[in-house]
Amino acid sequence: MKGQSSLLVLLAVMVIMMGGWIFTSFYQAQIQESTVSEIETIFSKIGTYLNSIKGFSKNALILSVHKATSDIGTERLTFYCNDVTIPTTKQMRYELSSKTLNLLNDYIKNYPVTDPLMVIEIENFSCVDTPIEGLEQGLNDENFTANAYGSKIGISIKENNVSTNNVMLETIPENRFWFLYRNLRDWTSQEGKNFEKMVCDCFSKEKLPRTVNEMKNCDDSEWPEFTNCFREVINERAKNMQDFINDPNVECSGEPTCCYGQKERCPSSIDEQCGIGPGGTQCTSCNSLPDNELCIDTIGASSEKSYGTNEKIKNIVSFDGEPEGHDISVISFAPEEFRCGGPCTFYESGYINVKAQFTCTDKKYQLSLPFPEDRYLKFTIDTKISLQKNGINLRTTECEGIWPDCKCPGSPEDWCTADCKSVPGTVVTAVPTTPPIFPSTVPRPV
């Protein structure tokens, strides 16, 4: 019986050991399968994440370019500021690139990267470039390329990291930003001066009121003929712009945005030509772009160079206002009694600052923009013209009286006179270099 018990214990131990061994073997196999499955899941997830982030980045780049082109189009850059001041291709390229970069990085920042299994990091892009080598040949009219550099996607699982570059070279289709820019640039180069001349023609004696000296806005009822004329010129120029672009899908319109005018007294001459005006303080601003290095040229450089802006424009519109005086050289003068004679010319002078904007809308394509109703690309350019003109409101009568009491009959009190001559007499020649202050209504001997 004792021998039987020992055998029984031995057999029981064998049974337990065998059972344990079989159970462990199956269980280990089970764990290995699960581990393999987990690894497969992680591999699959990494691949899916990388593809998703790259796909997202690509579409974010496209939308960012659309928004950037739309934003620049409505920035009202000044293409004519008393002269042709078109932003250069490089300036436009920089503007488009930097705006796109900011928008793109905003999208990247908002990408949700929460996963319990891994840590995902997306680095911002450092540069976006829109190469436009084919601009002049029209190769970028319908589409152009946008490239984004400098981003990395990093995925960490415990201490293990995977990272890949997130570089994109994308074609931006159905966006005619560069087409509109090229045409508006060319139109302004060719027609800008004509526009200025037409505005100058509006600023004439027939279009100005006799009594009201100041125009405060573009709807000023006190200067109706001038403002109407200005509007007509703008409409005509907008049509001219549309004809110049010559595309059935592009519509252009124009409107005055700022008007200020003032009549002045007593200019130096009665020359009816327009010159660049003194500027004043109203309707004088021009919107230009800075000169910056393209990031694609400075990738790897520590900083970007920037240059002063608006110098050219400032020079054009600057007016120091300091009179330089005028030289009066007395040739001879005899204190005897003179009879007044010759024509009396009364005249006014004045200046205007006017601004108009022209908008061309491309109806060929609608962009992916956040405006449900109207997603057409619009390109608006600003124009500013400051003019000074003498000899507006001329009137001539015959000078009467005995010098020095020469009189010009019919002279409005605040008008200036000239050319009321003493006969006979010697000559005093006035050679003013800036508008002199002549006493109103008192003729001066010549």
Partner: protein, 158 residues
């Protein structure tokens, strides 16, 4: 010579060992563990497949326009309209139809695409217990901030 009692004991032991082994094997063979693994693999495959479909969604450009389907879906959300006008050259595109054709090609009629304001695709049949959802992150045209929108692409297994 083995005694009769010892022989019976040996037979009993062999019987117990045999039954134990059979019980252990059947525990692993016939309990839910193996089907669970199969289900996991199937679901993982389906999820991975959805990922591939979404990658295609990000990159597929429609004929007639050169825009991606994700771009169109984002426009659909912004305009809140199934058909969106893309200008005089491209015309109006029925985005719902385009998206339906795209997903049907990959997932037959076993999918739907939803967000808080949009629902495309098919209803999940009653009795379906296994469905897989993949989140699609879309950039959305935005006025101030670069917004995103998350669409849920759902498919189900019978």
């Amino acid at each position: 010579m083995m005694k009769k009692g010892q022989f019976e004991l040996l037979e009993l032991t062999i019987l117990v060992v045999g039954i134990s082994i059979m019980l252990i094997i059947s525990y692993f063979m016939f309990t839910e563990r193996t089907p669970k693994l199969e289900r996991l693999v199937t679901e993982e495959y389906s999820y991975s497949r959805l990922g591939d479909i979404v990658t295609a969604l990000y990159n597929t450009k429609l004929s007639g326009t050169e825009r991606t389907l994700t771009q169109l879906l984002a426009d659909r959300i912004v305009t809140n309209s199934s058909s969106v006008d893309y200008g005089e050259k491209v015309g109006i595109i029925n985005i719902d139809k385009q998206a339906t054709e795209f997903f049907d090609a990959y997932l037959d009629e076993k999918w739907n695409l939803t967000d808080s304001e949009m629902s495309l695709g098919y209803k999940i049949p009653s009795g379906i217990k296994r469905k897989i959802t993949y989140q699609i992150v879309l950039p959305k045209p935005s006025i101030l901030y670069s917004e995103i929108v998350i669409l849920n692409l759902c498919t189900w297994l019978e």
